[in-house]
């Protein structure tokens, strides 16, 4: 009987089923999408992490590595099979270098053979090309002895070189956690490339005591260091693995407390990023889902009620036949409950499919679509909204007077204020709570609670609109009674008293309110992402290169872009305050800038104020440097040694050379220049003295030293250099090359080649804060030439300075400085090639669009995307439900319309009546939603979370793009108008005078 009844009311049943399926699906989409978003977050964090953040190197000196690594990775389905290896370190007679004897599983696939072959037998080794060993040579390492004990003890094990390799790339993850090769171009004198052997070597050798492993700990006798490299597979790790990942990291940190075990990793940094992003995803997503489920409940509440009411005649019959109340109630509930029960699996399936589509479209490829445990209860909870709707509707139908069902003119039942008042009160309380806690009023931060504002505002405005429309139409009703014709008269009468009107306006208003907010929020947030990305990236494309000397960077860019219009060299030093040093003229051509944030000044104007004096530098080229100085006699027992600080080509850090001790009152001091100065000029950066006090000082040291001459020797001949203008940082007035060696207050003499208070564009509340300088050491305030709320490349408070001046001022470049080339070229690959031709090594490329996309991939962005897609779907559903409700309500009146037609009313007037009725209702609901959405956007935009970590700069514009909002509302109005036309025509076709022979339904 239930199934037959459902078939009898198949249209309405289908609508109920669809409307029940949607909130269930919405509720299920949340956890599914959220799980995928978490997976995206964790994968992205791991993928973008440095190599050390993508795995662990588990090292032990007590054996059992496989079991230990097995225990470490137990339960982690996201790690690649471990790469095992063993290592011993030793010196070699008559060789100052340390050698690592290594076996690592799969080593031959990661090394390029230059000669010979890979080792196959015990005590065969493969040596690096730079090590100087020849094929066939036998090497003896002092700590690697034969296993057998001879007459004179253990002899050194003969390691035969069977292959010569070219070092593998240090960037190859295979070599994770260990430097086995000297970096190309930066050979280190005391460390040779590793010698690779086979595991069998371990059986035939004995590592003698006294050998020191790389950790510095003494190894036990015969001990090798065993290790296992465990990598996180970014294609397999998922959001649900975060806890396992954290547990592994905790285990790794605990393992470090054993003296024979070390676990090297930077996964902890990755975990921090993951936690921040995942945390910023959770609450907004929950609020988005809650609002969508609430909206779904509202739709369900009305539609399930319609289904129960559609059975009114049957329920009345049941009561007429004396069925008890409980039985009647069950009878009334049977159909909706069955539909809701069917809707649960369908909704969950649809939710999974929809989430899969969203994940496929919005998240990076390869993110799996899972069905987390929370999805099913969420769907069932959404379905319970339908049960809550069905139960009272069924009870009302079961208890209202039966005779009402058969009256020709059913008594009008006034829509109660109680429910509306309760909902409005809750809405108002919610908004007051958000106001009181500062979520709405405080613009300084971003709060997840602000995500509740749109739902509350939309519901409140929709309820008020639902109440206001009948009142307004009743007012206009009097007008149409006198003028305007039959059509408007009938339409307004129906709208004024129609039971469908208020419900439809409320549902439409709430749904379109949420949709308008979602579109507004998305457009504003997208704009914020783009604006932030443009500023943070600095230019359309930022190419990161390996660190080189600043001059080389500048020269390479000048050569790669001789026109100076498409590329700019940049060195970024992390703060606070941050520093971006660049070529001002080139920056003006490629950098992103907004004059309105800088008092109307253009980037060109700002950049023009940055360069400092181009005083000639002191270049030293040759093999020896000589400095002549006059000085005060030294107090008794004191010793002062002079040092010169140089910038040497190919080295980022300054090099200090000793110039000898001061004696008498003057002297000439010379020292060999670093080898690099013979091929390219080094730069003299500073001269200073270091003191050694006597065991018992009788008087203080205060020695004035005046540099009187500089010279370099090249090709055996000395060349005197022009003395520069000097500067003493501690005594700005001293310019004659005189500085004081004393304790305390020792002074440093520097060539005066820079502006001591560098010009800078200040971003944010810099105040008098010292700027670190390129070397993060020469901290000093800048001379602010312009204050701007945002600057290219700056993510926080910081300065924009001239790279040339910054380079002159600093002694070197800090390790954490990032070297980039900014470009607005349409073909950055060509620029990259040109830069590489100039000797730069390109590491990565980042576009501002890519950066904006990565913002959208953070937790809040993913939650907003969920809101956008789901709210638009809900709005479409609400529109469909409203059109259907209006159609059903109008169809009930076909008797009345037939009577009107019979009494001479023209079809055109009836058409106008039907059209107007629907258009008024739908337009009111849609426009109420538009108002609610815009009000909510005004109240909540700027407070809702947009970033995992809100940026300090630039100030976010929160500009709502009107076009998408207008498109949504316009499309809704257009579709509703079309639907109204179709529904009216369908109804008009059904109006037949013969119907009057039937009793009114």
């Amino acid at each position: 009987m239930i199934l037959r009844g459902l078939w009898e009311r198949r249209t309405l049943s289908l609508v109920v089923l669809i409307i029940a399926v949607v909130p269930i699906a919405s509720a299920a989409v949340g956890p599914i999408y959220s799980a995928a978003a978490r997976t995206t977050i964790v994968r992205e964090a791991v993928r973008t992490a440095p190599l050390e953040g993508r795995g662990w190197r588990y090292t032990t000196t007590s054996g059992g590595i496989q079991a230990k690594v097995g225990a470490f990775t137990r339960g982690a389905g996201f790690t690649n099979p471990p790469i095992f290896g063993m290592e011993a370190t030793s010196g070699r007679a008559d060789d100052k270098r340390a050698f690592s004897l290594v076996w690592q599983d799969g080593q031959c696939e990661h090394l390029t053979l230059a000669e010979g072959r890979c080792p196959r037998a015990s005590m065969e080794v493969m040596a690096g090309q730079a090590s100087g060993f020849a094929l066939g040579q036998t090497i003896h390492l002092s700590a690697v002895r034969r296993a057998e004990v001879g007459d004179a003890g253990r002899d050194p094990a003969p390691l035969k070189v069977v292959g010569i390799y070219r070092p593998g790339s240090p960037a190859d993850p295979f070599w994770f956690g260990r430097t086995l090769f000297a970096p190309p171009g930066r050979p280190e004198g005391d460390k040779a490339d590793a010698l690779f052997t086979v595991p069998e070597t371990r059986l035939d050798t004995y590592i003698v005591a006294g050998a020191v492993d790389f950790t510095g700990a003494r190894q036990p006798e015969a001990g090798w260091t065993d290790y296992g490299i465990v990598f996180i597979d970014t294609d397999r790790i998922e959001g649900t693995d975060i806890d396992v990942l954290a547990a592994m990291q905790a285990a790794a940190e605990n393992a470090g407390s054993n003296e024979d075990t070390i676990v090297f990793s930077r996964v902890a940094d990755v975990l921090r990023v993951v936690s921040a992003n995942a945390g910023s995803l959770g609450v907004p997503t929950l609020l988005v889902i809650a609002q969508l489920v609430g909206l779904g409940w509202m739709l369900l509440f009305q539609t399930v009620g319609d289904l129960v009411r559609a059975r009114g005649a049957e329920i009345a019959l049941a009561r007429l036949r004396g069925h008890g109340r409980a039985r009647v109630w069950r009878f009334a509930l049977a159909e909706p409950l069955l539909l809701l029960a069917v809707a649960v699996p369908l909704g969950l399936l649809l939710g999974r499919a929809a989430a899969g589509t969203m994940i496929g479209a919005l998240l990076p490829a390869g993110v799996p679509v899972r069905f987390p445990v929370e999805a099913a209860p969420a769907g069932v909870a959404a379905m319970l909204g339908g049960v809550l709707a069905a139960a009272p509707a069924a009870w009302r139908t079961a208890t209202r007077p039966v005779t009402e069902e058969w009256r020709r003119t059913p008594r009008r039942s006034a829509r109660g204020w109680v429910l509306d008042a309760v909902v409005l009160s809750i809405t108002a309380l919610g908004l007051v709570e958000l106001l009181a806690t500062g979520v709405i009023t405080d613009v300084s931060g971003q709060s997840s609670s602000a995500m509740a504002v749109p739902g509350l505002v939309a519901l409140g405005v929709a309820l008020l609109a639902g109440r206001a429309l009948p009142v307004l139409t009743r007012r206009l009703f009097g007008l149409t009674r006198r003028h305007g014709g039959l059509g408007p008269f009938l339409a307004l009468r129906q709208v004024a008293r129609g039971p469908v009107t208020a419900g439809s306006v409320v549902v439409l208003g709430a749904a379109f309110g949420l949709a308008t907010f979602a579109v507004s929020a998305w457009s504003a947030t997208s704009g914020d992402y783009e604006e932030t990305a443009r500023f943070h990236n600095g230019a359309p494309t930022a190419i990161t290169v390996r660190p080189v000397e600043p001059r080389r960077l500048i020269e390479a860019v000048n050569a790669a872009d001789p026109g100076g219009r498409t590329a700019a060299p940049v060195i970024k030093v992390p703060g606070p305050p941050e520093m971006v040093a660049t070529d001002p003229a080139r920056l003006a051509a490629v950098g992103y800038w907004r004059p309105e944030l800088a008092g109307g000044r253009t980037l060109a104007e700002a950049a023009a104020a940055l360069p400092g004096p181009a005083t000639p530098r002191v270049w030293l080229r040759g093999d020896r440097f000589r400095l002549t100085a006059d000085h005060d006699p030294l107090p008794k027992g004191w010793s002062v040694r002079l040092f010169a600080t140089l910038r040497v080509p190919g080295q980022l850090r300054p090099v200090q050379i000793p110039l000898g001790a001061l004696t008498g009152r003057s002297g000439t001091h010379a020292w060999n220049l670093p080898p690099g100065c013979a091929e390219a000029a080094c730069e003299l950066r500073a001269v200073r003295g270091e003191t050694t006090p006597p065991p018992e000082a009788e008087e203080d040291l205060y020695v004035r030293v005046t540099v009187t001459g500089l010279a370099t020797r090249a090709n055996g001949r000395w060349h005197a250099l022009d003395l520069p203008s000097w500067r003493v940082d501690e005594d700005p007035d001293a310019r004659d090359g005189t500085f004081v060696v004393t304790v305390p207050g020792n002074q440093t003499l520097r060539p005066y080649t820079y502006e001591p208070r560098q010009a800078g564009v200040a971003v944010g509340a810099l105040g008098g804060k010292a700027v670190p300088g390129l070397d993060n050491a020469y901290a000093g305030p800048v001379r602010t030439v312009l204050a701007s709320a945002a600057g290219p490349g700056l993510t926080g408070v910081g300065v924009l300075v001239d790279l040339e001046q910054a380079d002159r001022m600093a002694y070197g470049v800090h390790d954490k400085a990032v070297f980039q080339v900014w470009t607005r070229s349409a073909d950055p690959a060509a620029l990259e090639r040109a830069l590489e031709e100039q000797g730069l090594s390109v590491v990565s490329r980042r576009t501002s669009a890519g950066l904006a996309a990565s913002f959208a991939g953070q937790g809040p962005g993913l939650a907003l995307m969920l809101l956008l897609v789901s709210a638009l779907a809900a709005a479409a559903l609400a529109l469909g439900r409203t059109v259907l409700a209006l159609f059903t309500a109008a169809r009930r009146r076909t008797y009345e319309l037939a009577a009107l037609e019979a009494s001479g009313a023209r079809v055109a007037a009836l058409r106008v009546a039907l059209l107007l009725e629907q258009v008024i209702t739908v337009a009111t609901g849609t426009l109420a939603g538009l108002v609610a959405g815009l009000v909510a956007a005004r109240a909540a935009l700027g407070r809702i979370p947009q970033f995992a970590e809100p940026p300090v700069t630039p100030p976010l514009p929160h500009e709502v793009a009107l076009a998408p909002v207008a498109a949504v509302v316009g499309a809704a109005l257009l579709v509703s108008l079309l639907a109204a036309v179709l529904v009216s025509e369908a109804l008009l076709r059904g109006i037949r005078v013969e119907r009057l022979r039937d009793a009114p339904a």
């Binding site: 009987m1 037959r4 049957e314 004396g322 008594r411 009793a999």
Partner: protein, 270 residues
């Protein structure tokens, strides 16, 4: 023994903030096995009285006994049971009595759900109304006549002591109407069912044992054995039947002449 006893029944309902008196001071007694035709113009209160007799409404004032039970004092549960066990009702539009997507047999058994299900009686009833061959055809696809007969079978499904029918022949041709009336009379004869039938059809009223005419919410007249009587109301009011309005038009004045066994009214011209 009286199956129905109305004692000064008043029924008032509200329509658009206006109180409408549907029935006023209705006194009526119907004995077991009687077949009564309720007559009267549209809006006179016939359907309201029928709904009261079905226990679907409770009187605003006065008392109503059904089979000796004062329905004003019955709980809803008891009233439901009373209706399930002892009352059968045929609503005015035959389709309203039926669940359109159920077969004839299912409609009959649906009416039995609140009491003991009796499939034999269901089959018997369908035979009596000539629908034993209706099969699985949904009631909604039956003709008007078939629906009307099925509605009667449904109303008789619980073997009611009181059968209430509202215009049961309104959509039937003469022959089908006669069949339905015959079925009602047969139920009264065979099962001792008391029947109250609202009708405008003179042939129906003539076929039934007694007529009660409701005018302006009052019992204005009764007819027994072919003779019509006016009913003297509680306050001595008598409704002049419409067929005498040309002699004593409403609003006119009359003199009362005392007779040995009553009074005579004569038009007066003051």
């Amino acid at each position: 023994m009286s199956v129905v006893r109305c004692d000064g029944i008043v029924q008032i309902y509200k329509a658009h903030e206006v109180e409408v008196v549907a029935l006023r001071d209705v006194d009526l007694v119907i004995d077991e096995g009687e077949t009564v035709a309720l007559l009267g113009p549209s809006g006179a209160g016939k359907s309201t009285l029928l709904w009261l007799l079905a226990g679907l409404l409770r009187p605003s004032a006065g008392r109503l006994w059904l089979n000796g039970a004062d329905i004003g004092r019955l709980s809803q549960r008891s009233l439901d049971r009373l209706r399930a066990a002892q009352i059968g009702m045929v609503l005015q539009n035959p389709a309203r009595n039926l669940i359109g997507y159920l077969s004839a047999a299912q409609n009959v058994t649906f009416a039995q759900r609140a009491v003991k299900r009796d499939r034999r009686r269901a089959g018997d009833l369908l035979r009596r109304v000539g629908l034993q061959d209706a099969g699985d055809r949904p009631a909604g696809r039956m003709s008007g006549g078939e629906q009307q007969r099925l509605a009667l079978a449904v109303a008789l499904a619980n073997k009611p002591r009181l059968l209430l029918a509202d215009e049961p022949t309104s959509q039937l041709d003469e022959r089908s109407g006669a069949w339905v009336v015959d079925l009602i009379k047969r139920a009264a004869d065979v099962d001792g069912t008391t029947a109250v039938v609202v009708t405008h059809d003179m042939s129906v009223s003539e076929a039934l044992g007694r007529t009660v005419t409701i005018r302006d919410g009052r019992v204005g007249a009764e007819g027994r054995r072919g003779e019509d009587f006016v009913v003297v109301g509680r306050e001595g009011a008598v409704q002049v039947p419409p067929e005498y309005h040309h002699l004593l038009p409403p609003g006119s004045m009359a003199r009362i002449e005392e007779l040995e066994d009553g009074i005579a009214l004569r038009r007066a011209e003051p």
